[in-house]
């Protein structure tokens, strides 16, 4: 299941992980809302990368690599950050709360919902980290 980030295989591995990880399934059982990620150029990585993850009641309902914003016009959350910061989170070098609180990760969506569900968000990050075999 673990794969190199960024890759479509990584996102597919994440989908599988989210659907089979008992801890995530339990902690996210009330979560309702999809995520649209924007990974921005930083350092030697000079592309903009997007992917979409459907999440509903502890399950992943689908993933789209190179997702188009037009195809997902109203995601529950849009999370954006530089490639350096996103990969630092995935490799465990950057605490996701630190990323949020120091604006290395930007969030668009219902902040009330996010604050009510911080444990779910952090466990989602754990799953992301556990499917990251390495960084390209």
């Amino acid at each position: 299941m673990p794969a190199v980030f960024p890759s479509e295989a990584w996102l597919e591995g994440l989908r599988e992980k989210l659907n089979t990880d008992g801890r995530y399934n339990e902690i996210a059982k009330n979560w309702e809302g999809d995520l649209f990620f924007v990974v921005e150029p930083a350092g030697t990585f000079q592309e903009t990368l997007t992917f979409h993850i459907g999440l509903w009641h502890g399950r992943c309902t689908g993933v789209v690599w190179n997702a188009s914003a037009a195809d997902h016009p109203n995601p529950a959350f849009v999370l954006s950050g530089g490639y350096d910061n996103i990969t630092a989170i995935l490799s465990g070098r950057l605490n996701p709360m630190t990323a949020m609180l120091t604006n290395k990760l930007r969030v668009k969506g219902s902040l009330g919902y996010m604050m009510r569900n911080v444990p779910t968000v952090l466990d989602f990050v754990r799953c992301c980290q556990e499917v990251t075999a390495s960084i390209a």
């Binding site: 605490n95 996701p96 709360m97 630190t98 949020m100 609180l101 120091t102 604006n103 990760l105 930007r106 969030v107 219902s110 902040l111 009330g112 919902y113 996010m114 604050m115 009510r116 569900n117 911080v118 444990p119």
Partner: protein, 610 residues
């Protein structure tokens, strides 16, 4: 800059006091500058509720400008509950008005024979009778003053609790902003001073107006985009409630329970989805963390902030947001700090449950967890100092002492602990134990660092939330930084980049500081307040935590964790450069910080020198 207006209530005289340039440079303003003024004035035998006790209202160099969250001022003196240094800052619109009137602060001395209020109308100072205001609550008093003096003025007022010298009486400004902590409302009440009203029309001076204007505009734009500020705007300070409870950092049942399963019913997120109808902001604030809510009666009113929700909610096992809102408003109107009020009532409930307090003590009242109506009644009794309320009005330390259970009171040096439990966020153990005004979360909101809010430019790093002595130096550094905020006087929620904060200071004050200089200024202020407290009798033995915080929770996100306070303090003293035996800043520490006179005073005789 501008002078300080010194008022003698006894003679009804006044004079202006220029601030020495060196003091402005070394301490900036606010609480640190107040400390510099009061260092030699506060003494061990000074009764904080006597006429002689000073009360200083000070702004900072950014106050009243259009800089980010710069509408604040700080009130300083000697704490009636602690007998130590007291400071409490307050938002709203009074500070800008004062600076526009031509003063950077007001220093109150003496006491009036009869209730009065001060009217600072531009450069004119009037002492006006306040018998007709005496007894009015904080909101009524401000309305009456507005009727009397016209619009375009701002006032700071006390309520009945301040008049009755409740040791946790607050000072109000506007409908919903309070200098809540440290009981300085009682100091005002003891002086028969009901209010200070001010109107100003002048320009607030900054050293380089053009540079400052560019910077403050940039800072406000940045702050609008800040995640933390956006959360505070959207769901208020109580937006953190769910996560804090999940971590086991939000104490329930008077610090004896690590979970509160109804937390979502009282959280900021739920408030935003149910009773919230608006937001309120202090001067020059783009965050607007203030809540405006509507309950069944249809009236718009202030919604509770995080500490009030915790104090009357989980702390007393009340899970009804409307009831908590009403209890918060009751405290606000009486002019009482919600943290200390809830903490003191929490102790009463705890001691009633254990049988130490009985109905014979309470005038026949049963004290039960979750009974909002009874809590409301206790608040009224406290503010009026009637019956059992007279004991509550003395705070939890004296309440505990009255029933032979002082060790059960969750307070440090007489100030009730705020609701960020060190068993969930261990850095708060050091913050509470070493805060100059007693257990306080505003001298350092280190719980945010324990969540992950680092500040790399200042060397403030992330340590696990249950790390122990290894984070001691980090806590000290964070305290220093927050001391700068309390000098400015800037809201802790102004999460602007530190480099931007530095440039604002330099432009406003004509300085050429580095970040290290800025942090040293904070360290100087922290050590000065420590030295004041040493003079007032504080020793290493005062750096403690109450028993309840050293007993692990049995349940929740921090179950079984116990802060190693002794180990943390050891690391902290070393990091601070404080004497391990006496708890005083070492001679070389004080000299390094340019506090030679304080060094001579604290280490006057050879046998005192370590």
């Amino acid at each position: 800059m501008q002078p300080i207006l010194k008022i003698d209530l006894s003679s009804q005289g006044h004079e202006t006091l220029e601030v020495p340039d060196a003091w402005r440079r070394d301490f900036l303003g606010g609480a640190s500058l107040a400390g510099r003024f009061l260092y030699s004035v506060l003494s061990r035998d000074l009764d904080p509720l006597s006429e002689e006790a000073p009360l200083l209202f000070l702004t900072g160099p950014l106050s009243g400008t259009a800089g980010p969250t710069t509408g604040r001022l700080v009130v300083c003196g000697k704490g009636p509950a602690t007998g130590l240094w007291a400071e409490s800052n307050i938002g709203g619109y009074w500070a800008p008005e004062l600076r526009q009137a031509g003063y950077d602060g007001v220093w109150i001395t003496g006491g009036a024979e009869r209730p009065l209020y001060l009217w600072l109308n531009g450069g004119r100072v009037e002492f006006l009778p306040a018998e007709h205001l005496w007894g009015s609550d904080t909101y009524e008093a401000q309305d009456l003053l507005r009727q009397e003096l016209g619009s375009g003025m701002e006032s700071v007022v006390i309520g009945p609790a301040g008049e009755k010298r409740v040791v946790f009486a607050s000072i109000a400004s506007g409908q919903g902003r309070f200098a809540g902590r440290a009981g300085l409302g009682a100091v005002m009440g003891a002086k028969n001073l009901k209010a200070i009203a001010v109107r100003g029309e002048g320009t607030i001076p900054v050293h380089d107006p053009a540079a400052y204007a560019r910077l403050r505009s940039e800072a406000n734009r940045t702050l609008r985009q800040d995640n933390e500020a956006r959360v505070l705007g959207a769901v208020g300070t109580a937006g953190v409630a769910n996560y804090s409870e999940y971590l086991g950092a939000l104490p329930a049942k008077y610090f004896h329970q690590g979970v509160f399963s109804q937390i979502d019913q009282v959280s900021g997120s739920t408030m935003a989805e149910t009773i919230l109808v608006g937001r309120s902001a202090c001067h020059a604030c783009v965050i607007a963390c203030g809540r405006v809510v509507r309950l069944e009666d249809g009236q718009r009113r202030k919604g509770p902030e995080h500490e009030t929700i915790c104090s009357f909610g989980p702390n007393l096992l009340i899970d009804d947001l409307a009831e908590i809102t009403r209890l918060g408003e009751l405290c606000d109107r009486y002019g009482m700090d919600t943290i200390s009020a809830g903490g003191t009532i929490g102790l009463a409930l705890h001691l009633f449950e254990s049988g130490s307090i009985t109905t014979e003590d309470t005038g026949g009242r049963e004290l039960r967890w979750g009974d909002a109506s009874a809590v409301g009644e206790l608040l009224s009794l406290t503010a009026r100092r009637e019956g059992f309320g007279d004991l509550l009005a003395q705070g939890s330390r004296r309440l505990g002492r009255a029933f032979g259970a002082e060790e059960e009171a969750v307070q440090v040096n007489g100030l009730e602990v705020a609701y960020h439990d060190p068993r969930g966020v261990s850095g708060m153990a050091l913050v509470y134990a070493t805060s100059p005004r007693g257990a306080c979360h505003n001298q350092s909101d280190y719980f945010f660092v324990d969540w992950g809010h680092t500040e790399a430019s200042l060397g403030i790093e992330y340590f696990a939330r249950h790390a122990q002595a290894e984070k001691a130096a980090n806590v000290a550094r964070h305290q220093d930084w927050r001391t700068v905020y309390n000098s400015l006087v800037m809201c802790l929620f102004a999460n602007v980049p530190t480099e931007m904060q530095l440039r604002l200071i330099n432009a406003a004050c004509g300085l050429d500081w580095t970040l290290a200089d800025m942090l040293t200024s904070g360290e100087r202020g922290w050590n000065l307040k420590r030295a004041i407290n040493n003079r007032l009798g504080l020793t290493r033995a005062n750096d403690r935590l109450p028993k309840a915080l050293l007993a692990p929770f049995k349940e929740g996100g921090s179950a079984d964790f116990e802060p190693d306070l002794a180990g943390m303090l050891y690391g902290y003293y070393l990091a601070r450069g404080w004497d391990l035996d006496t708890g005083k800043p070492l001679l070389e520490t004080l000299l390094r910080l340019g506090l030679a006179d304080v060094a001579s005073d604290l280490w006057a005789s050879p046998e005192q020198t370590p």
